[in-house]
């Protein structure tokens, strides 16, 4: 099977599952599909840095969490009729997605800019670990910062609103997330095929060569890292709306690890890799979890087998399309 056809199949399944959930009266399917979609967006974000840019970030939970908290904090202020800032000028909270999204994107991009500026001085394992360090700082800060619930997290009770849509309806919200996923995939496809994408992928393979033709690899990589953080931050904001809740656990290193696993499991530097990875992971978690209490054991075993015998991730295995990295 060609990768293109496989990708179409993926989209078909992703759409089919919530519809099946509706028909079979299993609304939980819709929730699961939405979760997969949102995590896939986070993965698409990471894939830009990790897959195409070779920037192995173990700290993307920071952006996921920051995006989530931005959405959560602003919405909770609105729900409690408690302005965010009264002086020097009044800033009210809002539950309007059209305002929350850009804010989540911009603020997580800002965090990515700061973290990227400092982290890109290193490379290899050092880069992996310094990104982790920054994420851990934010994690511990969130746990001990009392204003927004600390470890208890922050409930927002109601999903944020979108003009003309009932976002509390599961299928509608899935639709919103699905559109975002398609947009993120389209964006990353455009970007990786652009002049910028060419320079980014070249920087991954041979940064010295890129510098020798007069392009700053640092600048290219920093831009990729910021875009990557922004996309992951958006996913975080959507995840807050899915759960109507956000807590420091989204900032923990487990989250970074999981997003990374989606990308690797699906297939690094493949457009639909994160979607496939997230879907496979969630389906395994759900089905194994229903069968045995020790489901993590079997999950571990399956993951090892995938790494050892399916190079290029699940997509690589199923499409037999070789991709050099």
């Amino acid at each position: 099977m060609q990768e293109r056809h496989f990708n179409l199949l993926c989209i078909f399944f992703l759409l089919a599952i919530p519809i099946a959930g509706l028909v079979l009266d299993e609304p939980y399917y819709i929730t699961l599909a939405t979760k997969v979609t949102i995590l896939a967006i986070a993965g698409v974000g990471l894939n830009l840095a990790l897959g195409y840019g070779g920037l192995i970030s173990f700290g993307h939970a920071a952006f996921f969490g920051v995006g989530g908290y931005v959405a959560g904090i602003i919405a909770s202020h609105a729900l409690n009729y408690d302005p965010i800032l009264e002086w020097p000028f009044l800033i009210e909270g809002t539950t309007q997605m059209l305002i929350l999204w850009p804010l989540a994107i911009v603020i997580s991009a800002f965090f990515a800019l700061i973290i990227g500026l400092l982290s890109l001085r290193t490379n290899g394992v050092y880069f992996i670990m310094i990104t982790l360090a920054f994420a851990q700082m934010i994690y511990y800060f969130a746990i001990s910062w009392p204003s927004y619930g600390g470890e208890d997290g922050l409930s927002v009770y109601l999903r944020s609103s979108f003009p003309g849509l009932n976002t509390m309806d599961g299928l509608t919200f899935f639709g919103i997330c699905f559109v975002w996923l398609m947009f993120a995939v389209w964006l990353s496809s455009r970007m990786t095929n652009s002049g910028f994408g060419l320079a980014l992928q070249a920087s991954k393979q041979n940064a010295v060569r890129v510098a020798a033709v007069g392009i700053k690899p640092f600048k290219v990589q920093l831009i990729a890292f910021v875009l990557s953080g922004a996309i992951t931050g958006l996913a975080g904001a959507l995840y807050t709306d899915l759960n109507r809740f956000v807590s420091p656990s989204v900032l923990s290193w487990h989250t970074s690890g999981e997003i990374m696993i989606f990308v690797i499991l699906g297939g690094v530097a493949r457009l639909y890799g994160p979607l496939v990875g997230a879907a496979v992971f969630i389906v395994l978690e759900q089905t194994l979890g229903g069968v045995t209490e020790n489901w993590q054991f079997w999950l571990g075993l399956i993951l090892i087998i995938v790494v050892l015998f399916a190079r290029g991730g699940v997509i690589g295995l199923l499409t037999k399309e070789v991709r050099n990295e």
Partner: protein
């Protein structure tokens, strides 16, 4: 604040540091020699602790428990290396991360299967329990002093092993040039298994030593694993010396930070918010340290410049 309290805290920091050194030595060796990122290193820490707890409660001897921790972790390490890890050396870091993450799940659940969900009992032996009085009237736990001594002995042992023995020569050669030592007729896969098992054994020993004063439970390896990574990154990956310095630095920073920061904030804040804010920053401190070191020296303190 009294000077004895400060010295006691420094000792605590050193003890924490030496424990971290036991964890990080194996991690940094495995990375230096085989180029492998091993997230499952914390599992050997856990295996060591559980083996020690099981054998100690079965035989009643703490020392047999310690021995068991070394053996169990070494055997587990060797087995894992032969079955899974050796297929990963030529893979990129991403595959290694995924596979060793999967190993964590595997080991944790297998341990829970075998030993149940509740923590196990492991206590320090009678001879080391209680505390003694050091000069200047410092009262200090015998067992913590014992950990410091074990740490120092193992550090010396490792330096001798690396610099004086044939195995050490091979390890050093392996770090610089893999093809060369293969050409010299060294059995590389055996060497790798030995190095991996050695690292695992040290982690297992750390698990048993620390399990005796902390708790022996599933998942105990993960927080320590993150700390061990912080240590080897600060020290420079592949450098035993770096691991030692990094471990002591992290141990001292963390311990003294927890103790001094709240006091510092207490100087200008009310006590409740001082402890709250102080400890919040203290919990971020080692990560701040690591980021600062890497920004200043992108390859760690003793790492080879890339």
């Amino acid at each position: 604040m009294s000077i004895t309290l400060f010295i006691e805290q420094v000792l605590n920091g050193l003890q924490f540091g030496f424990m971290l050194f036991l964890m990080s030595a194996g991690l940094t060796l495995v990375f230096g020699v085989m180029g492998l990122i091993n997230l499952a290193h914390g599992s050997f820490y856990m295996i060591g602790a559980f083996a020690a707890a099981a054998i100690a409660s079965w035989t009643g001897s703490f020392w047999l428990g310690l021995l068991a921790s070394l053996m169990a972790a070494a055997i587990a390490g060797a087995l894992v290396e032969m079955v899974v890890i050796r297929r990963l050396y030529k893979r990129d870091h991403l595959d290694q991360v995924l596979a060793t993450f999967a190993l964590i799940l595997l080991f944790s659940e297998a341990t829970r299967w075998l030993f149940g969900a509740f923590p196990l009992y492991l206590d320090v032996p009678a001879i080391l329990s209680g505390s003694l009085t050091l000069p200047m009237g410092i009262v200090y736990s015998k067992y913590r002093l014992f950990i410091i001594i074990v740490g120092i002995l193992i550090a010396i042992g490792l330096f001798l092993l690396i610099s004086k023995t044939r195995l050490g020569v091979r390890i050093r050669a392996g770090e610089s040039d893999r093809e060369m030592i293969a050409a010299l007729g060294v059995n590389i896969s055996k060497l790798y298994t030995i190095v991996f098992a050695l690292g695992a054994a040290l982690a297992g020993l750390a698990g048993a030593l620390i399990g005796s004063i902390q708790s022996v439970e599933v998942g105990m390896g993960e927080p320590v694993l993150i700390l061990a990574f912080v240590v080897i990154v600060i020290g420079g990956i592949g450098s035993i010396k770096g691991a030692l310095i990094g471990a002591l630095l992290v141990g001292l920073t963390d311990t003294l930070g927890r103790f001094l920061l709240p006091a510092l904030f207490g100087a200008f804040l009310d006590p409740a918010s001082a402890t709250s804010i102080g400890s919040a920053i203290a919990s971020m401190l080692i990560y701040i340290l690591m980021a600062a070191v890497l920004i200043y020296r992108p390859s760690g303190l003793y790492g080879k410049m890339a």
